[in-house]
Symmetry: C2
Subunit: 342 residues, 2 copies
Amino acid sequence: MSRQGPNVPQVAAPISVCDRRGGAVADGNGPTLRQLGEFPMIDRLVAGRRQAAGVTVGPGDDAAVLIAPDGHVVVTTDMLVEGRHFRLDWSTPHDVGRKAIAQNAADIESMGARCSAFVVAFGAPPDTEASRAQELADGMWQEAGGLGAGIVGGDLVASPQWVVSVTALGDLGGVAPVLRSGARAGSIVAVAGELGRSAAGYLLWHKGIGGFDDLRRRHLVPRPPYGQGIVAAEAGAQAMTDVSDGLLADLGHIAAGSGVVIDLAVDQLRPDIEAVTAAAAAAGVEPLSLVLSGGEDHALVACFADAVPRGWRVIGTVADGTPGVTVDGRVWTGSAGWQSFD
Amino acid sequence: MSRQGPNVPQVAAPISVCDRRGGAVADGNGPTLRQLGEFPMIDRLVAGRRQAAGVTVGPGDDAAVLIAPDGHVVVTTDMLVEGRHFRLDWSTPHDVGRKAIAQNAADIESMGARCSAFVVAFGAPPDTEASRAQELADGMWQEAGGLGAGIVGGDLVASPQWVVSVTALGDLGGVAPVLRSGARAGSIVAVAGELGRSAAGYLLWHKGIGGFDDLRRRHLVPRPPYGQGIVAAEAGAQAMTDVSDGLLADLGHIAAGSGVVIDLAVDQLRPDIEAVTAAAAAAGVEPLSLVLSGGEDHALVACFADAVPRGWRVIGTVADGTPGVTVDGRVWTGSAGWQSFD
């Protein structure tokens, strides 16, 4: 919760309710971050929030303190940058908040853990309306609340564009974490959640194609299969990850980490292919490509020795061989997923 | 450790070793982040690092797993934005890395805890030289290593300017956290570490005044009194915080949180005043103002019932009254500290 001290010189920008920067438009509905100030803004963001039972010290001190019931803590972090990971002319601040929490939560789930808390660092231009920061926080609290977790601390700073950096903490409940390295030949690969939807939605937004409201929505706010990470761990999942970069790319990490070949069966991906076929046609792409290479749905994929638990469906098999991922026995020659610096 | 999936359209920038953006100049010494790619860059950042004993799962999976020995975990986060919190024409990437870790570590220390691990999200322009990201990580590891902790996970994304977001985790070792709310009338206020140095150094940099190398250095890399947070907690500190926004501002949080008046004695601040007197004269400011209002040194300030432990020096007293901070019994009318959105 600390702030920085004396620092680099700032260009003094006039306080105005009609400044425009980074999509955050002060339209007369209330004060900007500059007008309100950091501490009053933090007070607003924190006021009335209900912390989870395991939070010993919540926001308002130098750090938060949480119970770690089984003597371990799971931790992951993801940063979203405006213009790179979201656009404020597509997403509301509420959507951005939900997405930022969801993608971190999926990383915790994919270890076989439950989310216990989040901390959030948020940078925005000083002329951002305070109400928009509040909407962001509301979205975060809604998504986190669905997990039984809250936001226990954060930082609020000035930045040329919105930057949202979330760290999620998780609790394994006494079970061993499910790593990427445990897949064994002879096992099966299964998925919980959706594939290809976010990528389809992105293309629709990008090409300005209307309709397909569910898919376009799904790109803005993913729907990870919360709770299925623990289900998979309890069912003996050997290896697990979430689909953030694309099914092929993320299963590639399991294949590499485990030293195995994973083969996907297109027939078993039919439900996902069908869900994006019409949108893919409208956008002029192959639906299979969206399912194999589209990320950000934050489905969970895992390897099981034999049976898969309820909520999971089989999509492939694990074999010995040079580590990699094949599709119906062949190397996929289409797009392989998102790269950060392309 | 996950990355984002398909996303907003990017302007395709040419790969060039002479692009300039955000102070990160590719001068032919090696590949840029775009040329190297995210995963090979992460591999470089992670290679050869030695994780602490309590790290069950380190970098390379969806999340890290740490031991929380006493069944609690302390957590805090701070974000640094290029041009706002640091300048790459003043600081080396190594300096930025050290500062980012130090300011988070001080928040953990000020709870009476020790740092157990860090996660880092780093955003930078794609044409940033990979070697500069490596320097940033080296600085982080140096600072963290001095605390017996390491970096257990992170995220690496494209951003128009450098953004460094650190989350620190800490361990209380079975003692209760020291909050801001525990100060009682009749107690004494003490400090461990330095005051005013970073602010003096900032002014020297800002005004282009040479000499005073130690002070200018101190602005780039603070020197928190590592270990003194635990010392204070074990000595029965009632309340504690670190000086990130300025002594008056940060003690103001203790005064407000505890419902007390804190009075500082200028005579007891002499060592700090003397340390910045010559630089203050060169910069044309009052040295006392630097000591009272300069932040970012990340000294620790705490309230004790009577005696203070070794390494701490008394600077004031705690009394009943309308919550606030006075200086020699009077309200300070100078600058009160850093505000995020000024």
